[in-house]
Amino acid sequence: MEQVITAQNLCLFYGKHQALKNINITMPRNKIMAFVGPSGCGKSTFLRTLNRMNDLIEGVKITGQVNIAGQDIYAPRTDVVELRKKVGMVFQRPNPFQMSIYDNIAYGPRIHGETKKSVLDQLVEESLRGAALWDEVKDRLHSSALGMSGGQQQRLCIARLLAVKPDILLMDEPCSALDPISTMRVEELLGELKDKYTIIIVTHNMQQAARSSDYTAFFLLGEMVECRETNTMFTNPQDKRTEDYITGRFG
């Protein structure tokens, strides 16, 4: 199976505090991988190394290698704009811009130079359909995105990503601010997106990981303890710490 993401001996420091310790992991194309682990174990931090969002934070130091689609993304000549187009990110809280629904989706293509209205119209429709949102909003594309429900806003943020045609979607606890029904809709959406995209989803929710992912990686105190197919991970974990965590015997 083709591996799109490979991290080797990855360490990350916030100043003196080491948040990631020697992470080695590979991720296959067009699958969903879930990251689980207790709060503060470095899931978000690792996710953010994959599209170099940590560049925004002062005092971050990274050693080791991350390869995405065969390229070392921390090589000095990496085009970060291209990288972030290919590796999109959905955040914990929905963060739609203060614009219309249409403009939110068109934002990405526009900053990358697309100006033709017909192309943008098409992209907006495609992306909204891709995020299972088109039918709900097609009559109010030009009203503010802030008037949508939280679940719709989160799917809008996913649609906004799809419009720049990424290959990989990083989702940092995308359902943690949503009600159960909206959560279910996002999970359904994940299943549909899997055919076209490689997806990594951070989640606190064991059931969610078990339900919606193909692979699961367990993080603890900055280490990646164990990574295998979700089925075997939940039925037959190899590491004692993983077993303790998924059976709920963990602090």
């Binding site: 972030r84 999109g88 811009f97 203060q98 614009m99 403009d103 900053i111 990358h112 906004r160 720049v164």
Partner: protein, 294 residues
């Protein structure tokens, strides 16, 4: 209902009463101000026609000619030009302070900017008189160096601290998650600033500009020292002219209260008040339309 709750409800009512009272007093003061200025000012029209006051620029009280057009134009021109220079400068400064400057520099800049607000306008006037006037004279090859351009340059600097401090507060409250959302789509830093951060902070930035404008249009001392104080219609940015407040302060002392001349100065003050209210409403209106469209 127990007595504890009743006491709390009573306190609540009292506090609300205090707020309502404060609001009423403020409104009353403004209405009284307008009333007083109008009462005295409108007496002018017993002796001077509305057309003459607003559309003639011949100001010669000894000859009973009271055309205030040149002052109105002077005030508007000085204010608009000051905002045109100081507004963008201030917003860029605010962007630097709120988003680019490292933490230690911000810690120095913020109090420094507030300190600037406390500089008395007569000091700005002196700087204008001794530095800007000669500079304008030499740079633009004009005689004198007094006029709208000089006054507007000084005002632009005077309003900078107001604009910077309010706009940078507004920029600082833009949620980081909006910036991250934009950057994660592949936007550059500047694209993110321009398309996301500035529009989100727009209401606060407009407040800063409105307050700057209010300061510019009402500024008397600094303008009076560099505008030339000549009651003539400005046909260039570099000729001596006058503004409403500077003309009022120059003439107030030797004008008998209750005379047509005296009344006309009150009327000028009223016009100034209305003009500044009008400009504030206008800016708010334009920016609210823009905010809806974005």
């Amino acid at each position: 209902m127990n007595t504890y709750n009743q006491a709390r409800l009573k306190a609540d009512r009292c506090v609300r009463g205090v707020f309502v009272l404060a609001a009423c007093i403020l409104t009353l003061i403004i209405v009284a101000l307008l009333f007083f200025m109008s009462q005295q000012g409108l007496l002018t029209f017993k002796d001077v026609s509305v057309g003459e006051f607003f559309f003639s620029s011949v100001w010669n009280p000894d000859n009973n000619q009271f055309g205030a057009l040149s002052f109105i134009i002077g005030s508007l021109a000085v204010t608009v030009l000051a905002i045109a220079i100081g507004g963008p400068l201030g917003v860029v400064g605010a962007l630097f302070m709120a988003k680019l400057a490292p933490a230690w520099m911000r810690a120095i800049l913020k109090p420094a900017v507030n300190l600037y607000m406390a500089i008395p306008s007569v000091v700005y006037g002196f700087v204008g008189l001794t530095v800007v006037v000669p500079w304008v004279r030499e740079t633009f090859g004009v005689t004198g160096g007094f006029g709208i351009f000089t006054a507007a340059s000084i005002l632009a600097i005077m309003i900078l601290p107001t604009v910077i401090s309010i706009a940078s507060d507004a920029l600082g409250t833009v949620p980081a998650m909006l910036e991250e959302g934009s950057v994660a789509l592949g936007a550059t830093y500047w694209q993110t600033m321009w398309h996301i951060v500035l529009p989100t902070a727009l209401p606060g930035i407009v407040t800063g500009i409105v307050l700057g404008m209010a300061r510019a249009i009402g500024e008397t001392m600094a303008v009076q020292m560099v505008i030339g104080n000549t009651p003539q219609l400005a046909t260039s940015l570099f000729m001596p002219t006058s503004t409403l407040p500077s003309e009022i302060v120059v003439e107030m002392g030797n004008t008998p209260f209750g005379s047509t001349w005296g009344n006309s100065l009150f009327l000028m003050a009223l016009v100034l008040l209305l003009l500044s209210l009008l400009m504030i409403v206008l800016v708010r209106y334009i920016s609210s339309r823009k905010a809806v469209r974005v």
